[in-house]
């Protein structure tokens, strides 16, 4: 674990900052896709140390934030069915749906439990054979293989009361959709670190080829991100567009074949509804037919009323990179991490919570 201290080393950081300032001649707008990057950029004050020529915008890479309201409503409705235990990652508890949240449903008597991994959920299923235990499968390529593994384990151990409500989403299709829409002009993309560890950097090659946008995969430490920005800047200034990796210790071109195989075994692509963006074909994952007895969508009769979006919330625009939380009239005044209006304020990876926690003007 030595690299941690190395990657926070102030001296090498200063070198990189100087290099970026020297190379950067033309205005350039870079999007960090991943919410983890947004948080790191704020936490280490990276925007402050970059030259004026470089503008950073945040993208849609926060799995909690992109979960659309109807999908949240569905999870809440499922929680109301007698005999159902909902298990979920903690951030999902507070996300407001149209009329309630999982947290409120729990206070009202629903059995909703926070877990750290789908394996915890599986354990709850074995301990409560008379109940139906549903794991809310949200997340990207990073979490899907683990959920797939839990389904296979349930198969192997014949655990029949374990279900997954799959709301998983895939990253490359949403980036394509955003770039195609052309609402936000980008000169470079900071590609997600953990997602790329699974998909490999090859997943982004279409962006460089079809859209001519430089791509660099980054880790989450400040030096990784600075390195990444330096590489993007170099590409911009030399008019190149290719996929590079600034996160060699975590990412290869090919990715993690084992995890991808697990994911493909259990899931198949399906359309998915992204908050603020809409339905994108092939951007979600659902359980394959042979696992339908673990598919909550198939096994339960979930009734949801038409959804209502939170009034005044700009999460959709924020996720597309066309607005920042500061453009939102509710930010800080009515919307805070304690009483969030939209999911971008709930999730620890959300842009609004990053702005709230780390983004205040210095006094």
């Amino acid at each position: 674990m030595r690299y941690i201290t190395e990657f926070r080393n102030g001296a090498s950081a200063k070198g990189l900052i100087a290099r970026i300032a020297q190379t950067s001649k033309h205005p350039a707008r870079f999007m960090e896709f991943c919410g983890g990057h947004t948080v790191a950029i704020f936490r280490y004050g990276i925007r402050q140390v970059l030259p004026k020529t470089i503008e950073m915008v945040s993208g849609p890479g926060c799995p909690v934030c992109v979960t659309a309201t109807p999908d949240i409503d569905k999870a809440i409705a499922l929680a109301q069915i007698p005999g159902v235990i909902i298990t979920t990652f903690g951030d999902m508890l507070k996300v407001p749906g149209s009329r309630s949240s999982l947290q409120k449903a729990r206070a009202g008597g629903a059995d909703v439990r926070m877990v750290y991994s789908p394996l915890d959920a599986l354990k709850i299923a074995t301990e409560n054979p008379e109940k139906s235990v549903v794991f809310l499968g949200i997340g990207f390529e990073t979490t899907a293989p683990g959920v797939a593994a839990s389904v296979l384990q349930a198969e192997e151990q014949n655990i029949r009361n374990y279900y997954v409500l799959s709301q998983h989403k895939l990253c490359p299709p949403v980036i394509r959709a955003i770039l195609k829409a052309g609402e936000v002009k980008l000169d470079g993309l900071i590609c997600p670190g953990h997602v790329s560890a699974i998909t490999g950097s090859q997943a982004w090659e279409f962006i460089a080829k079809e859209f001519g946008i430089p791509c660099v995969v980054s880790g989450f430490e400040p030096l990784d991100i600075l390195q990444c920005v330096a590489m993007l800047t170099a590409q911009v200034e030399s008019d190149e567009s290719k996929v590079e990796i600034a996160y060699r210790r975590g990412v290869t071109r090919e990715g993690n074949a084992h995890a991808l195989a697990l994911m493909n075994k259990v899931f198949e692509p399906c359309p998915a509804n992204w908050r603020g963006i809409g339905v994108i074909p092939g951007s979600g994952l659902k359980l394959r037919k042979q696992y339908k007895h673990h598919d909550a969508e198939v096994q339960f009769d979930i009734k949801v009323e038409p959804s209502i979006e939170p009034k005044g919330c700009l999460c959709g625009e924020v996720l597309r990179g066309v607005k920042t939380p500061l453009d939102c009239g509710l930010f800080r005044k009515f919307c805070t991490p304690e009483s969030p209006v939209g999911p971008c304020m709930v999730s620890s990876e959300g842009s609004c919570s990053a702005y709230y926690l780390y983004g205040s003007e210095l006094i």
Partner: protein, 334 residues
């Protein structure tokens, strides 16, 4: 079948009596506890400190400690942070039916060892047993009394511009050690909780100088939250430097992986001291001589600017506001 706690152990009958005698009294034996009257009776004079806290932790055994050690250290440390010398503790257990007797014994033994190290005595107690599912294995409440030495006035509202901020060692060890034991979060680490009684190090510091203005142990909410509390209570600003804050490689590694910020992770054996500029080095030296303060370091200072706010100079040379913890720190999903 291994012996387990039954509901009858809390009923006040013979089983309960035997449990208290065998498991508690004989282990924690001391003259004030021994009479087993309805209350412990003792003499005391001067300025006293009195505090209470309840302890729930899952799992109840974790690397570097257990719920018993935590229950003693937590209350001892709360007393110590007012400058008091911790003397007596009460100890109340709420036990979930079915807890292994040997686990209970292990917790009590750990309480004994920790209390001895801290120089406190357990002088009264209580046990209740609740039905399976009504508690999670074991909850403990402790209350404590300590005596404040003559001339000591330590409070969270005493920090003054110009004061130095000292941190007694690495941050995040406890929170990450406990998290590492959660199912499904197996990241190979040998990290241990820093759980420790801080009475002695505070006594050493007070011997070195009485110019200690504020003391606080950064438990839940971590260093960031505690510094914010101090800044708000004293109506001063606090400036710290990221590069001065000691973090173990294992903690930094786990935090990177999980997307957590060590500044917000709980500690159970660390303290923050806000002390006058003139005596900062003397106090720091006294801390470094104690086993729980070997890595102590001055991490920043108190300012008149930005009252109520904590500002950190990052390793990159930029500055940012460090806010209180909101919600609980959760591992990232992405």
């Amino acid at each position: 079948m291994e012996d387990r706690i039954l509901l009858a152990h809390g009923s006040g009958g013979k089983l309960a009596h035997d449990l208290i005698e065998k498991s508690f009294v004989s282990v924690l034996d001391n003259p004030l506890l021994a009479p087993l009257d309805d209350s412990a009776v003792f003499e005391m004079s001067g300025r006293l400190a009195f505090t209470t806290d309840s302890y729930v932790v899952s799992p109840i055994f974790f690397p570097g400690g257990d719920i018993g050690k935590l229950a003693v250290c937590g209350t001892v440390n709360d007393l110590s942070m007012s400058g008091a010398k911790p003397l007596y503790l009460s100890l109340a257990f709420i036990i979930e039916e079915g807890l292994l007797l040997k686990d209970l014994q292990r917790v009590i033994d750990s309480i004994k060892t920790t209390a001895e190290e801290a120089g406190v005595r357990i002088i009264t107690g209580d046990t209740k047993v609740v039905e399976r599912g009504s508690a999670d294995k074991l909850f403990i409440n402790t209350a404590g009394i300590g005596k404040i030495p003559e001339g000591v006035t330590i409070s969270g509202s005493n920090a003054k511009p110009g004061d130095k901020v000292i941190l007694s060692g690495t941050i995040g060890d406890h929170g990450i050690a406990v998290l590492s034991q959660r199912q499904g979060l197996s990241f190979g680490t040998k990290l241990e909780s820093d759980c420790a009684p801080l009475g002695k190090i505070v006594a050493d510091m007070l011997t070195a100088s009485r110019n200690i203005h504020s003391l606080r142990d950064p438990t839940r909410g971590g260093l960031a939250t505690t510094l914010n509390e101090l800044a708000k209570q004293s109506k001063v600003g606090i400036r710290i430097e990221e590069s001065k804050i000691p973090v173990r490689d294992e903690v930094a590694g786990a935090c990177e992986m999980l997307g957590l910020d060590p500044l917000y992770i709980a500690n159970e054996g660390k303290l923050i001291a806000i002390v006058s500029l003139e005596d900062a080095d003397t106090i720091l030296a006294a801390m470094k001589r104690n086993r729980y303060g070997q890595d102590a370091v001055i991490i920043g200072e108190v300012t008149a600017e930005h009252p109520g706010r904590v500002v950190m100079k990052t390793a990159l040379g930029s500055s940012r506001i460090v806010d209180m913890l909101v919600g609980e720190p959760l591992p990232r999903i992405c």
